[in-house]
């Protein structure tokens, strides 16, 4: 299985900004109720399971032709029993302001904000083969120790790497994969050989 390395989102600065603002409000509301962890997790479920699983629901949330009241009724019916009241209220506020289309960006902003508050960072790890628990624990503890932060791992498998691993934290990449080393070696040998070729061309040829 080769998983294409893809970025999550098309850059939409408006949505990103909006998501950040709503997420900040949601998290402080949840924090004062003491349920930040729960609310963020539930928001994740909402986006990953319900919205991703139902195109109809997604379309309904995004549609401007469905009135706010109607959306509030839908939210009450579907989520009131399952989700924490803070989240349900928050969704209703979003519905009232016609912002339900942006739930996904609120979710990613909330994840980020919450991680940041808890002193956590996300490290994406790409390896050629699946990690076992021992190795995973080792990586996690080593990274936590160096970064002085709680590290959450996000794993992907990419056989193209041949071996080794690539760790990405934020925009910084630590690459010790075999593929990268082979690339570098080939570049180095190529340029080194070209230089030698110019310096002592005669020794390379037999007459």
């Amino acid at each position: 299985m080769t998983e294409a390395v893809k970025h999550e989102t098309v850059l939409d600065t408006g949505a990103e900004k909006l998501g950040k603002t709503y997420a900040a409000a949601l998290i402080s509301a949840a924090q004062s109720a003491g349920v930040a962890d729960e609310v963020v997790a539930q928001l994740g479920t909402l986006v990953d399971t319900y919205l991703a699983g139902s195109d109809a629901l997604q379309a309904a949330f995004a549609s401007p032709r469905i009135s706010g009241d109607e959306k509030v009724r839908v939210i009450d019916k579907l989520f009131a029993s399952e989700f924490h009241p803070v989240l349900v209220k928050f969704l209703k506020v979003m519905a009232g302001r016609d912002r339900l289309a942006y739930v996904a960006s609120v979710r990613s902003a909330a994840d980020e904000l919450h991680d940041d508050m808890m002193g956590r960072v996300v490290a994406s790890i790409r390896t050629a083969v699946a990690l076992d628990d021992g190795l995973r624990g080792q990586i996690q503890s080593k990274l936590s120790e160096t970064l002085q932060r709680d590290v959450r791992l996000r794993e992907t498998i990419d056989p193209d790497l041949i071996g080794g691993m690539v760790i990405r934290i934020g925009d910084r990449v630590y690459d010790s994969s075999i593929r990268n080393r082979l690339d570098q070696m080939s570049k180095r040998v190529q340029s080194g050989f070209a230089q030698k070729l110019l310096e002592k061309f005669e020794t390379f040829t037999q007459n």
Binding site: H7, L11, T13, D171, R172, M185, T203, F204, Q206
Partner: protein, 502 residues
């Protein structure tokens, strides 16, 4: 010829053994959109303005716009195989190019990659493409001459080492020819030359390289090409890259000459990039900082102080005007930046006066101090006389009767105009120029038929070379018109005229 595989294998083995692998730490981003030589990148949060980035296909980019959520990158290479979602790697250094003796005699692209098929450029040093020019304390006034070998230029708008002299004119008026002659004339003078072709047809660049080779000028010349088919970002950086290569020699205490052919195309490329980056357009849709784009480039030409080795970088920027419109935006900008301009006019060109320099509005603001004394004495009032002649000529066309004094002035003028004509690729030494102009300005040509002037000049110089080499020698040693030198020149001319059949 056979290759010895053992030898090759042992070199490769040595290279591999020396290779030590470290963990590669890099800052990355992802491509959001790409097109027209520009990529918008998400991430790269720690990138510097002007930092190099690398795309997966090996193309180099330059962080150009740092915005709140994304980075605008100009792609210096193939952008057609870059895709949305590609990983972009910051290289942590500013854009630099190879420099030193390895680039001399080569034809390179603006990143220093060879285009001449002569193998890789094995430069030991590189220089950043964009640096801030030398400051006030690091410079000294321009005093040394930079001979172009063109009579009209050396006599009327002399250029000094470290000067910036603009060559401006419409298309097909011989702008490039002036610059190429100046390069050819640097042969044996220990001046490294750089010809930066921006947005030119590849066929004309090939023609220029050919001409330089034929005249033996490629031994000390580097050609940097970003042709008309090169992406706009490459055309934009080409002049800076060429300057960086030339500066290496200037800071090493040597002398360099750089020709930017031409800056109007560079401004157009910069305009394209800026508009694609959504920078606000100004006059003629150029961005607000197009003046700075040229001023920071031309400021880098300098004559360094003696403490810094006294090296110099002379530049000859070229600007193409449309229908003689020198008051357009880019021409006025560059005119105000440079230390003078050589204005080439189409009507003069088609009237057969080549180089087609308009003496009236061509000036050199600092070169006078750099002119050799002999030339200064012989050509002192030439520019103004010629300008006056042009005015008089227009008046005389009305067919009025002229007094003998005016007629004499006109006759002298016609002969001087003939004398200042010069064929392409035939630069003249200072001594030859002085003798020619001496004959003209001191009235030795007054009794020669106007049509025969070029012939007279040619044969006179040949005669002096053959029969009076001591005159040339004396002039080259003194470079001044002392009585002794004048007498020697006059006697040479007189003895030639006695045998002249015209």
């Amino acid at each position: 010829m056979k290759f010895s595989s053992d030898e090759i294998a042992s070199v490769l083995q040595a290279e591999i053994e020396q290779f030590d692998s470290k963990i590669d730490v890099r800052e990355v981003g992802t491509v959001l959109e790409v097109g027209d030589g520009i990529a918008r990148v998400y991430g790269l949060s720690g990138v510097m303005a002007g930092e190099m980035v690398e795309f997966p296909n090996g193309a180099i980019g330059l962080a150009f716009n740092l915005e709140e959520n994304s980075v605008g990158v100009i792609i210096l290479g193939d952008y057609l195989s870059i895709q949305e979602g590609d990983e972009v790697k910051a290289l942590g250094t500013l854009l630099s190019v190879p420099c030193g003796d390895a680039v001399v005699g080569r034809v390179l692209d603006p990143l220093g990659n060879p285009l001449d098929g002569k193998g890789p450029v094995q430069a030991e040093t590189t220089r950043p493409v964009e640096i801030i020019a030398a400051g006030v304390a690091e410079r000294q006034p321009v005093t040394e001459p930079m001979q172009t070998g063109i009579k009209a230029v050396d006599a009327m708008t002399p250029i000094g080492r470290g000067q910036r002299e603009l060559i401006i004119g419409d298309r097909k008026t011989g702008k490039t020819a002036v610059a190429i002659d100046a390069i050819i004339n640097q042969k044996g003078k220990d001046v490294k030359c750089f010809y930066v072709a921006v947005g030119q047809k590849d066929s004309s660049v090939a023609g220029i390289i050919n001409a330089l080779e034929k005249n033996g000028a490629m031994d000390y010349t580097t050609v940097i090409v970003a042709g008309a088919s090169a992406p706009a970002p490459l055309q934009y950086v080409a002049p800076y890259a060429g300057t960086a290569m030339a500066e290496h020699f200037m800071f090493g205490g040597g002398h360099a000459l750089i020709v930017y052919d031409d800056l109007s195309k560079q401004a157009t490329a910069y305009r394209q990039m800026s508009l694609l980056m959504r920078r606000p357009p100004g006059r003629e849709a150029y961005p607000g900082d197009v003046f700075y784009c040229h001023s920071r480039l031309l400021e880098r030409s300098a004559k360094l102080s003696d403490e810094l080795g006294g090296g110099s970088l002379t530049s000859l920027p070229i600007i193409e005007t449309l229908e003689g419109e020198v008051s357009a935006y880019i021409p006025t900008n560059v005119i105000s930046i440079t230390d003078g301009q050589i204005y080439l006019q189409p009507d003069l060109f088609f009237a057969g006066q080549r180089p087609a320099m308009n003496a009236g509005i061509s000036v050199s603001r600092v070169g006078g101090a750099a002119q050799v004394k002999a030339m200064k004495k012989v050509a002192g009032g030439l520019r103004l006389d010629l300008a006056a002649f042009r005015a008089l000529e227009a008046f005389a066309q009305l067919g009025t009767d002229l007094d003998p004094e005016t007629q004499k002035q006109l006759d002298r003028g016609y002969r001087m105009v003939e004398l200042l004509k010069q064929p392409q690729y035939q630069p003249m030494s200072v001594a030859e120029q002085v003798i020619s102009l001496y004959a003209g300005t001191r009235g030795f040509l007054d009794d020669v038929d106007v049509k025969k002037v070029p012939e007279f000049e040619k044969e006179l110089l040949q005669f002096v070379k053959d029969k009076h080499p001591e005159t040339l020698k004396l002039l080259e040693d003194k470079l001044d018109l002392s009585d002794e030198v004048s007498e020697s020149i006059e006697s040479a001319i007189n003895s030639f005229k006695s045998g002249w059949r015209g």
